[in-house]
């Protein structure tokens, strides 16, 4: 047995002994454990599972042990994920700090900043949200206007952010702010951490087509922010932002993750809601063709994730593969959700109340939510621009020509 197999065995045994059975069922939104100062747990099992994982550093398995992480290498991290998936273990802790901010602080933060923020993220003590977009700055993020004025010992922040997911529930926000209005757009931006409890920070929720109000508009009105909350150099926030976006896109490209959805996949839904004819084929042949196209595409994407991983393991990483995965993964998920709605027919079009079971409602809501995937984190069109520029090295357009 090689060391990878031995590690796999150890992980499996540990998970089997430590993951309560109730935490091996598919996740539902109400039972997700989110980080926060006032963290709540839906039940004792969820608390126990979170605490056990936290104590092993496995809420953030590949972060340094000294900072509360698990100290695993890439292969071990993958093994842990695979074993958790095989057993159906739920993600023990949800937080943007884990997915996005933490890796950026590990890369750009000072030692003091790392010791201040990283362990709290690992232990789920602070819930983070992301303050990038503004009403006038979406795809063209670098045109953002929120101002942070240098006032000697602190910055004074004024402006507004929009589409801030869960801003009303978050403890802290990581923001892009303009620190030099005279510089070229990308060059006058800094990366700032702000406590949502600070005087002058307010949020108002925005309702979505899926019926939720995950989003907020966040306002900053003369908010005083200590200088020590600047990550990276002054006016160099754009590099931090770009590094962080890479993590965001990687996260969004990991299709079929553990976002809540119905307990069935498309094949199972097809068998249940349409059924097989005497020839053993799905009764609706047009939907059968759509279904198989989806299944084949899904498999091709999964294989591409795996190829990209293997290439990295062999030191043959192709930097262009990660570039395509956000686009491919989110478009595929949208496609899958459209397919599910088609497969369920009328039963996927209920809004609530009697006559629709939980899975059916989740199908409807999931479909509506999936529309956001190819917008958030850089739209599909923006991803294609990036592929054209970086992977294909196609020239910039010159509007004056």
């Amino acid at each position: 047995m090689n060391s990878a197999d031995a590690f796999r065995q150890e992980v499996r045994t540990w998970l089997e002994e430590n993951c309560p059975p109730s935490q091996r069922r598919p996740i539902v939104r109400e039972e997700q454990v989110w980080a926060g100062r006032n963290k709540t747990f839906p039940n004792n099992d969820a608390k126990l599972w979170f605490e056990r994982m936290r104590d092993r550093g496995w809420t953030v398995p590949d972060w340094p042990q000294a900072l509360g992480g698990g100290g695993l290498d890439e292969q071990q991290t993958r093994i842990l994920k695979e074993e958790m998936k095989a057993l159906g273990c739920r993600t023990p802790l949800y937080d943007l700090g884990i997915w996005m901010l933490g890796p950026a602080v590990l890369e750009f933060g000072t030692e003091a900043q790392q010791h201040e923020h990283i362990p709290k993220i690992a232990r789920g003590e602070i819930r983070w949200c992301q303050g990038y977009s503004e009403p006038g700055a979406g795809s063209d993020l670098a045109s953002l206007q929120t101002r942070a004025e240098d006032c000697g010992d602190h910055f004074l922040v004024n402006g507004t952010k929009i589409w801030t997911t869960n801003a009303d529930k978050a403890d802290w926000i990581f923001c892009l702010v303009r620190t030099d209005p005279a510089a070229k757009k990308q060059e006058g931006i800094s990366f700032l951490l702000i406590d949502m409890n600070d005087p002058g920070v307010t949020t108002t929720p925005i309702e979505l087509i899926s019926g939720e109000s995950e989003f907020c508009q966040t306002f900053f009105d003369n908010v005083k922010v200590p200088k020590g909350n600047l990550i990276g150099e002054l006016n160099k926030g754009w590099s931090v932002a770009k590094a962080l976006l890479k993590h965001e896109r990687k996260l969004m490209s990991e299709i079929g993750g553990d976002t809540p959805g119905p307990s069935f996949g498309p094949v199972q839904a097809a068998l249940e809601y349409i059924g097989l004819g005497e020839d053993g084929k799905l009764k609706d042949l047009a939907l059968r063709d759509q279904l198989v196209r989806h299944e084949m595409n899904f498999r091709a994407i999964g294989l591409t994730h795996f190829r990209s991983f293997e290439e990295r393991m062999h030191g043959l990483a192709d930097p262009n593969v990660p570039l395509i995965m956000k686009y491919v993964g989110t478009e595929e998920t949208k496609n899958k959700d459209e397919l599910l709605v088609a497969l369920l027919g009328h039963q996927a079009l209920g809004w609530g109340g009697a006559g629709f079971n939980d899975d059916e409602i989740l199908t409807t809501r999931g479909w509506l939510f999936s529309k956001a995937l190819s917008i958030a984190g850089g739209t599909s069109e923006v991803q294609l621009n990036i592929i054209a520029k970086r992977a294909l090295e196609l020239p910039e357009h010159n509007a004056q020509a």
């Binding site: 091709a300 069109e381 196609l394």
Partner: protein
Amino acid sequence: MALVLNEEQRLLKDTAKDFLSSTMPVSELRALRDSGDTHGYKPDHWQAMCELGWSGIVFPEEFGGLDFGYLGLGAIFEQTGRTLAASPLLSTVVLSASLIQLAASEQQKQELLPAIISGELTLALALEEGHHHAPTAIQTQAEKTADGYILNGRKSVVLDASSADKLVVIARTNKDSNGSEGLSAFLVNSQVKGITQHSKQWVDSRSASEIIFENVQLSDADLLGEADQIWPALNIALDRSRICLAAEMLGGALECFERTVAYLKERDQFGQKIGSFQALQHRAAILFTELELAKSVVLDALSAIDDKRPDLPQLASLAKARLNDVFEKVTSEAVQMHGGIGVTDELEIGFFLKRSRVATQLFGNSGFHRDRYATLCGY
């Protein structure tokens, strides 16, 4: 499962690239076409390929092979796709020799495989009877007689038949059977009495013939393996062929795409490179994503052959359907993005377009493979 090539395989790929781009560039296919050739490839080219060891790459050493596996052969196929190199590698080595390796008697293998590997013997598989790939819709009959069989029937498209030394003919030996049951394979000398061959001209300038069998006398020794039982081996041989062809198509699609992207950076209109227009950038970027997925699918399918994985049929259908679609899309877009010159015979893009459509029809179009994949998955 291996989704990266090891060092030896990468080396092999580089060798193939060097050899094919210097000895068998697309201009060789054009020359073959313009010479009015019906043979389908240049015998000198095939001899050179055999000398490089390519005909023996997947066979055990006991037959004179290299036992190097399909990931290696796939790397070669990908390169042949880049230069549209015409050879009997697919028809002889993958399709026919696989069948022999999987189904023939020990004695037949000893006789045939070394001759194939050395390049002395080329074979063509006579399977298809209709306008579309339908490997079990076989009406050709081989009726048992006292000392052999009598063969009657018509085969519509037999790859490389005009150049092949012998044919491997799939026929129904059990009159009362249908579908995949009751089928057998015979090794038939293409010169014997009762065989009429019409070699046809195809858009891709490669060779395939229609063949009619009228009361062809066969001996018991011409039967490959056992009577009525060829299907399982044929099914695997077809899957291997689908996968190797998909690898060739991947090479063709990549080449065609790269040439197109280069053109986008070269051609000026409205005072700038046409590659600066977002309408073209996005289409090119989408093709790029499709090609990346295609690479993964082909590699996994090749490794499924080497690892004798039970999901080989799914992977073969996944790879063939995907590459049919990608190659078709890439070649059509390549023509469009070249503008007027794209539809000229002078530009080599047209050769890729033509090869793509022929390759799509071989061993199953996308509808065939999606239907098969769905059935294999139980719906």
